[in-house]
């Protein structure tokens, strides 16, 4: 419970704005190299990402101070990046170190550099006020690089506002309709769910007891318990952490073996790791992975799960793209909420407060 200083505003904006004072994943760790800069736009800031000679990841604004040529098309030269156009060089702080055609360096020549933290197999950047960039605020995604978990993931380029992806993950009743061939089942919509929240987090918990395992989960059960048949207890515990990370604790266990009470020994458990980075108001980088805590030795299972989730999330991607198109095609229509949106609405409330603290409106500027 929070005692309010002032009543909250309704925040079902269709094109939701994004906080700048936050860590966002810019790339998988392996995507950022000392060989070649990576161009990626994060929260409306075009960045050039690269590594210097000690392996540290660097994020600079992707525009040379001089005539704004993209540095990402240039070369990494040790601890510097060289503009592809007139050869100006910059160090990792964004400070110009060389102007080839003159004997001095203009003291104003600098490009913005952004704080970077590498954690949980991702490169995180902070595009807001650098003085507020506290590495301890990087969202917890420890399953990504814990020895007790195995798995892998991919990046989806989602042509939609990032909030639509958060909505999608905060309410999984859509699985019944969008993912009917893999993880969907009638019990999803029928089961009760519970929502709780803190200042930075929201949790949605749903248990489905004594049900048939859908195809994806039956396969996973049989990976761990060969030849398994019978009913299962299924859980989905959705953990949101601001601004846009959602870890979903998912799994099934043999029905009646005590999973709801905490004994998951007769089941299989995965964590669906999702972190969504707004690229622009209408496009997002959606980084996901599926991590499991059983059969850690099996690269086959890692590959199968990644491919399986790839298929499932492809269905989401189609839906999200279509939803964004419909939103843009119906500018006069508003969003309405169902009871299933409770988790997503708490997410919006938290984000809305972050935006207010930055003096930003909840709705992103019109295109």
């Amino acid at each position: 419970m929070t005692i309010l200083d002032s009543p909250p505003v309704t925040a079902a904006s269709k094109i939701f704005n994004f906080p700048r004072n936050a860590w966002y994943v810019a790339a998988w760790d392996h995507e950022v190299t000392a060989k070649q800069p990576l161009a990626r736009t994060i929260a409306d800031r075009p960045l050039a990402l690269w590594r210097n000679s000690d392996g540290r990841a660097v994020a600079l604004a992707d525009a040379c101070w001089h005539r704004l040529a993209p540095l990402s098309k240039g070369k990494v030269l040790g601890d510097e990046i060289q503009c592809p156009y007139h050869g100006l060089r910059y160090n990792s702080a964004g400070r110009c170190t060389s102007m080839p055609a003159q004997e001095t360096i203009n003291p104003s020549a600098i490009v913005p550099s952004y704080p970077v933290v590498e954690r949980h197999r991702y490169v995180w950047v902070w595009v807001g006020d650098p003085d507020l960039a506290d590495p301890s605020c990087v969202p917890d995604m420890h399953q990504m690089d814990s020895p007790e978990w195995a798995g892998d993931g991919e990046t989806i380029y989602a042509p939609c506002n990032y909030q639509l992806v958060l909505d999608n993950l905060m309410d999984l009743t859509h699985e019944e309709f969008v993912h009917s061939s893999s993880i969907g089942q009638d019990e999803l919509s029928e089961a009760e769910f519970e929502v709780s929240h803190t200042d930075r987090g929201v949790t949605v918990t749903r248990w489905m007891r004594d049900i048939d395992a859908p195809p994806f989960w039956l396969k996973n059960m049989r990976d761990r318990f060969p030849g398994f048949t019978g009913k299962v207890d299924r859980w989905q515990i959705i953990h949101f952490e601001a601004p846009s990370t959602i870890r979903i604790d998912v799994g099934v266990a043999k029905a009646g073996t005590g999973a709801p009470e905490g004994d998951r020994s007769q089941g299989v458990n995965g964590f669906v790791m999702n972190t969504i980075t707004p690229e622009t108001a209408r496009t997002s980088h959606y980084f996901w992975a599926f991590m499991r805590n059983y059969r850690l030795e099996s690269q086959t299972i890692t590959t199968q799960l990644r491919q399986g989730v790839h298929g499932v999330f492809g269905e989401d991607e189609d839906m999200l793209a279509a939803q964004q198109r419909a939103i843009d095609a119906n500018p006069d229509h508003e969003f309405y909420s169902l009871n299933i949106d409770a988790g997503g609405m708490w997410v919006r409330r938290i984000l809305d407060r972050m935006l207010q603290a930055e003096g930003l409106p909840a709705a992103a500027a019109a295109k």
């Binding site: 702080a93 203009n106 003291p107 600098i110 913005p112 550099s113």
Partner: protein, 336 residues
């Protein structure tokens, strides 16, 4: 770090003035379109100086209430180009034409140590940086140098706030800033290449620091400075520009820059930054009577010593030893 180099104009109302130190005036402006000024930012003002509109740059000492109150500190300087007299005459309620905050001197993040060096009125560019470094819990030193205590703005306040992080050097107390000791100390410290220096002050001080910085082989990009081309080796004085191509001579008043005077005389010259950084207004020097006071940071020391070219926006001619020669100094230029 934020780098905002876009210039847009607005009006600002003077809401407060006071004296900060002998000859240093505090002017608080309330802009029409408030934008927070981050440490290192300045604003440009359009001032009407004896019938001519001139642009002058002033560091933002403090930005409060999201930029609704911007504090400037202005020294009434004999070496200035006339803007400071105008600024000292401002009264509460006066309205000035000003830009939003322009950032070309941003404070970096992530260095192991920061050394801020303020010479005289240059402190105005560093007050907000020091506050930010203190809030960050960074390792920093604030070096304040001046001729006399009475003319050093913000001295007491900075000593009180920053305590033993402040080093004070006062010429007339014979506690002088020794550049070699300062820069040598950085070179001999634990993290010489991870120390950034930010300096703002008279060009002679900054030139000396730059030479020492290079001599100690410290990384050049770690030495950061801002100059508005407003200080030189000699006080500003009247001089003459001869333009043989046009068969003309133009007189440059001490309140005016050479570039301003040539434009006022209808001479078509190219320029960009107007603060001695970019080199676009560089022209060839054919002859000098007196000395050239370069004041720019575009030409290298060696280029300046040969006197072969100068930057019109900030360079001046000076007699060198005032009082001796009765004729004004003169330069003869070849325009592109």
């Amino acid at each position: 770090m934020a780098v905002n180099t876009q210039t847009w104009w607005q009006q600002g109302r003077v809401v407060e003035t006071s004296d900060l130190a002998e000859g240093v005036r505090r002017v608080v402006l309330a802009p029409d379109r408030p934008v927070h000024a981050v440490p290192g930012a300045h604003v440009d003002l359009r001032l009407d100086l004896s019938g001519h509109v001139r642009k002058r740059s002033y560091s933002v000492v403090r930005s409060e209430d999201g930029g609704r109150r911007l504090t400037l500190g202005v020294q009434l300087a004999p070496t200035s180009r006339g803007g400071s007299r105008h600024m000292h005459g401002l009264r509460v309620g006066d309205v000035v034409e000003m830009t939003g905050p322009v950032q070309s001197f941003p404070l970096g993040v992530g260095a192991d140590r920061y050394v801020l060096v303020a010479g005289g009125i240059g402190v105005t560019a560093l007050v907000a940086m020091a506050d930010t470094l203190r809030r960050r819990g960074a390792d920093y030193t604030l070096v304040l140098a001046g001729r006399r205590r009475a003319v050093m703005a913000y001295l007491d306040e900075l000593v009180e706030v920053h305590g033993d992080r402040v080093r004070v050097f006062v010429d007339d107390e014979d506690v002088r800033l020794d550049v070699e000791t300062l820069v040598g100390g950085i070179a001999g410290s634990a993290a010489p290449t991870r120390t950034e220096m930010y300096m703002c002050g008279p060009i002679r001080l900054m030139d000396a620091i730059r030479r020492a910085w290079v001599a100690h082989e410290l990384p050049e990009p770690n030495l950061r400075f801002e100059t508005f081309g407003s200080s030189g080796a000699w006080a500003a004085e009247d001089f003459v520009v001869h333009l043989p191509q046009l068969d003309r001579s133009v007189r440059v008043g001490k309140d005016s820059s050479m570039l301003d005077a040539l434009e006022d005389a209808g001479v078509d010259v190219m320029w960009d930054c107007r603060k001695g950084e970019c080199g676009i207004c560089q022209v060839k020097v054919l002859d000098v009577s007196g000395r050239i006071d370069h004041r720019d940071v575009f030409l290298s020391q060696q280029q300046k010593e040969t006197y072969s070219s100068l930057c019109l926006c900030v360079a001046r001619a000076a007699r060198g030893e005032p009082g001796k020669a009765s004729e004004p100094a003169a330069v003869t230029l070849h325009l592109p």
